[in-house]
Symmetry: C2
Subunit: 468 residues, 2 copies
């Protein structure tokens, strides 16, 4: 769908690249970490998404002819532009698996590449991973509240432009079953769903004829929108008529959809009317500005809704517009690198690192991830990143290393998984997360700490760089 | 950039289309209105954006081979799929000009097309216009607060996926001067801007060498990022050194950038230190989670900042994720159409319509737009849309009809304008809007009402469709 080229980046990546190029820094490998600082939606976890998408783009990333023309127009150095003509991403990527349950401050992806390549891909990487992780997390929150009910993405019309395309992909990773977005369905092999809008009913002289024509054209897939004129006095009675007529032909009305009014009340009344007419198999779908709070509230009220269609709040992640993911230099020219800040939580973690997830004796998540140096095999202690008094022994626990090599010298190492497989993996991981962390309000805070070796290195570098 | 095809739509457009096709409704023209119901950001106006982009896409919209394959896979009717193979948008579009200052409930765009075409483009139209209007409006709010200071879009990394591409376009319409987004710069002919990140400084053993190398590689465009280690003790003193060295070579340091800490305090101290060193021409740029509220606050404090770099809140429209624009059927088969609702403000307006902007005697906006039937030439009275007691005489005023034909039978009628021209037009229009409507807090509410003829028609149709 999207024609990503080398200029899909921030201009400063290209101006910095020119300095690296002119100063001959291209032979040195830089190590960057991708991580975020704050969980969205006041939740207790995030669902990592976008990785396989990103790798596919990195594999083929080039500066095309128009890009090169534009760089000339911008007055960049000629030799540097020549170098960019042959640009390929030839780096190595370590990452958590797409669908993993992830937490703030831990490296989720580690990039090792020559510094020009590593910088040029920064913006693309952040753009893709920040957004898809935001939306997969939002979708996962809705999935937890919707329990076994069906969830459908209706968001494209209110999505942030072409962002809607990847939003539909991420929604499925978070647990949505289908999308109204035909193009995303086509490209990502998602189930698509869609029946009728108000305009369709309005285009007829009367609602009943509109319903009948639809049932005739789509007997296997008729979901009647019942609120164009009056839900209980017109929409539902007409839907019942058509449902009974379909029965005569050996067909079954699939559902009705409510799109306005008090959904708890209307779904209950609609269910009663349908059941009284013998149409107890007809499903009730509901839409209209839904989010996880409304889904929870409707189900707390035992509203008999079978299918939720969710738009704006899903595909935009409302009320959180963005995951605050960043990409920070940790190692360069064989030296660990750090960025200082007046707030200790904003100081970066130096060195090539690994993340260990601590498991309990059942193999579930114990509630702690340890960020360690990449060569450590089994860190024994975990230190709070900013409070020197807090530490925890994790020696007796099994641990899983979460960062695995997924791309080597620009080549993808694993076969790509279907979104269904990614979703299933994500569900499995979320099942291992104790329920306090999945609580809707005020979830328990998952601990991410530093190994003793990493902490010592970080503190040493802080001291070294402090301006006296 | 984006490969928009026929399937960039909601699936229900295609299932409804199948009914229209099988029932032979393709010869009938449908008239749809695009309008929104609520101004974003608690503001007093919106800046309409995305139109020329949309028309370019409509002009070439097709179902490509992959689309057709997918429609077959979905089991749509074969004859209908054949019809879609030849799909072109052959409709006519009336619209306000891109950059126009617009208000809730008034039709901003009117589409006249065969009903299948009109439905298929609905999602695309909403996706593009809702988002770009949201972002242009956000940008415009920042422009008003930033007064004459320079504004640069830094948003791509936190944008909602590929939405960032069009966000940069819309930001310029709203008054931004430049973008960090190289690809948007390339495709929309925008000034691009970018110098260095923290990683660049970190890649050096010391800050001073990093600054020197940059100045050497980009003598015309050096903006030094001064907060990697310590802004006032290290960043600014090193920037001053490099600035003085550049003077020796007959060059000029362009600026420094602050990206953390108290920007009011740091900008003031930085200004003093630079001025004392004779570098009073060096500009101060600031970034870090800025929005219109922070820009206003910084300038209220007289922070000596010359350039604001704005990211997340600009390109995502935070805290409003979406403009609530809708697309409603108003006329079909030579008959006016209406959608009822229990809330009178959600009842749609029937008929082909025109919007008249009422002018005061100086040619400025008087604060009222009248929505009228398209054949009306000079409505005399304007009625409140939901309060029958409120009406206003507008007979003595000059009026401008705002909806103009911009596409006829699928062909664009006017030459496309550059974004600079659209921005200039928008600024001109905003100048005509009295300042009470541009007030930052609690702006005056601009009136949008109905002409007497339109009100009569709407009330007649409500009565006709009411379920007794």
């Amino acid at each position: 769908m999207l024609d990503f080229t080398g200029t899909y980046t921030d201009q400063y990546q290209l101006t910095m690249g020119q300095v690296y190029f002119l100063k001959g820094h291209t032979h040195h490998t830089a190590v960057f970490d991708y991580f975020f600082r704050k969980l969205p939606f006041e939740g207790g976890y995030a669902v990592f998404a976008g990785l396989e998408n990103l790798l596919e783009i990195l594999k083929d990333l080039r500066f095309d002819e128009k890009d090169i023309q534009f760089l000339k127009q911008l007055g960049l150095n000629k030799d540097y532009i020549e170098y960019l003509k042959d640009f390929r991403f030839t780096g190595t990527v370590y990452s958590m698996r797409e669908g993993e349950v992830v937490f703030p401050t831990e490296p989720v992806v580690r990039i090792e590449a020559n510094i020009i390549e590593a910088q040029i891909i920064e913006t693309l990487l952040l753009n893709i991973l920040n957004f898809q992780t935001l939306i997969a997390t939002k979708a996962s929150r809705m999935r937890l509240q919707a329990k076994g009910k069906m969830l459908i993405d209706f968001g494209l019309r209110r999505a942030q432009g072409a962002g809607g395309y990847h939003a539909s992909r991420a929604a499925v990773i978070g647990g949505f079953e289908a999308t109204s977005n035909t193009r995303a369905g086509r490209d990502f092999d998602l189930p698509v769903s869609g029946t009728m809008a108000h305009s369709y009913i309005q285009s007829y002289e009367d609602e009943l004829s509109a319903f009948r024509d639809f049932a005739e054209a789509h007997p296997e897939n008729t979901v009647l929108l019942v609120d164009t004129y009056n839900t209980l006095k017109s929409g539902i009675p007409n839907a019942i008529k058509v449902g009974k007529e379909m029965e005569q032909k050996g067909q079954k009305l699939k559902g009705i959809r409510l799109d306005s009014g008090d959904l708890a009340y209307l779904s209950r009344r609609s269910r009663e009317m349908l059941d009284e007419a013998g149409l107890d198999y007809v499903k009730i779908a509901a839409s209209n500005q839904l989010d996880e709070h409304l889904i929870k509230s409707l189900l707390d009220q035992e509203a008999p809704i079978d299918i939720f269609g969710v738009g704006t709040s899903l595909v935009t992640g409302q009320p959180d517009a963005a995951l605050d993911g960043v990409y920070k230099l940790a190692f360069f020219k064989e030296e660990p690198r750090i960025k200082l800040s007046e707030t200790i939580s904003k100081i970066t973690l130096p060195h090539k690192k690994q993340v260990f997830r601590v498991l309990d004796k059942h193999g579930n998540f114990a509630g702690s991830d340890v960020v360690a140096l990449s060569e450590e095999e089994n860190p024994q202690m975990m230190f709070h990143p900013s409070d020197p008094l807090k530490h925890l022994s994790v020696g007796g626990h099994q641990k899983e290393p979460l960062l695995q090599k997924v791309m080597e010298n620009g080549k993808i190492l694993n076969d790509s998984r279907s979104l269904k497989e990614i979703e299933a993996f994500s569900r499995e991981r979320l099942d291992k997360l104790p329920k306090e962390y999945k609580r809707f309000f005020n979830p328990h805070i998952y601990k991410v700490g530093l190994s003793e070796d990493l902490k010592r290195e970080r503190d040493r570098l802080i001291d070294e760089h402090k301006v006296k």
